[in-house]
Symmetry: C2
Amino acid sequence: MKTRPATEYALLGALRSGSKHGYEILQFFEARLGSTWYVSTSQLYALLKRLEGRGWLRSSVEVQETRPSRRVFSLTSKGKKAFDQWLFSPTEHVRDLRVEFLAKLFFMKDLRLRGGRELVQSQASVLESMKDAQLERRKWAKEEFQKLVLDARIANIASWIEWLETKAEAFVSGE
Amino acid sequence: MKTRPATEYALLGALRSGSKHGYEILQFFEARLGSTWYVSTSQLYALLKRLEGRGWLRSSVEVQETRPSRRVFSLTSKGKKAFDQWLFSPTEHVRDLRVEFLAKLFFMKDLRLRGGRELVQSQASVLESMKDAQLERRKWAKEEFQKLVLDARIANIASWIEWLETKAEAFVSGE
DNA sequence: GGATTCATGTAAGAGGTTACATGATTAT
DNA sequence: ATAATCATGTAACCTCTTACATGAATCC
C-alpha cells in the first residue's frame, strides 16, 4: 500500500474523532496544530474531493437556515484503515519528521490512542539505523565537503533521537 | 532584491568558475554535490532558459563535428552579482540549511572565495536569535503539544549551531 | 553487438501557494 | 459603519519529479 502525502492523513486524522465540514477542519488545524502545520482552503477542498473520490471519505450536505450549506465529511472504514496504518508507522525520511512525525504524535494524543510509546520507540530505532548508515559512510568519505555534509546529518539525527527519548517519550507517557 | 529558489543559485555557482554547457553542469552536480543535491535534466534546461531570459546568463551555440552541438552558458555581471549576494548571506529558514547553506559552503570552498568564516559566523548568529525566539515562545507555551514541537525545534537549531561552530568552522578555516 | 556516454529537450503531473470571488451574518 | 466570521470554492502559478524522445559515438 502506497503512502500518500502527509497532508491527506492529517485530514483523515481531523475526522477520526467525528465528522466535520471543511471549514471546521480548517479551524481544527488552526486552533490545534497552529503554526506547526498550515493548510490552505484551496488545498483543503481539493483534497477532500480527492479523498472522497478514493473512497476514504463520504460526505453529505447539511442545509442550514441562516448560514450557507455545509458539506459534512466522515471517514469510511477504508479511510480509517489507511489512517491507522499511517499513524502507527515510523516516518522514513528525516526531512519529514518535522511535520509528519509530529503530526502522528499529535493525533495519538488527541485521539487518546494507545501505542504512542511503541511509535516513539520504533521511530527511534529507524533513526538509529539511519545514523549508523551515515556513520558508516562518514568513515569512508574522502572529500572534505562530503564529510561536512555527513557530520551535519549525523548531528541532526542524533538530536532527533535525543528528543525522542526524552521529550517525546514523556509526552506520550503523560496522561 | 528578491531571493530566488536555491537551485537557481546553484546553477549560477556552477558557472562562476567558468562557462559550461548544460550537460557539463549536470556532471558537475553529480560529481561534486553528489547525493547532497540532485538536479534533473528537465529542471536544468528549464532553469537555464529562465535565467538567460532574466539576463543572469548568456549563451552561445558551440558546433562540434562528431557530437551534437552544445549551448554554452556563462554568467553575466548581473548574474554574478546575484550569486555573490546570495552566497554571502546567511540562510533565513532552518529547513533550508540542509541544502541551501551547505551549498553556500560548497561554493565558498570550490571557488576559493574569502569570507567563509564570516558566513559561518553570521549564520550562527541568525540561528542563535532563532533559538532565542523559540526559547521565549517555549517559556509561555501552554499546550503540551506546542511545548513538544518547540523542544524539537530548539534541539534542532542547537545541533546546527554546534555543527557550525565546530565542523563548518574547521571546514572553512582549513586550506 | 549492446550498453553507456554525450547532449538537449518535451509532456504530464504532483503538491503546494497566493490571490480572487461570493454573500450572508454577527460582533465591535 | 466596518470588520471579522461563516462557508465554499476557482484560477493561476511555482517548484520539482518521472517518463519519454532522439540520435550519433564510443566503450566493452
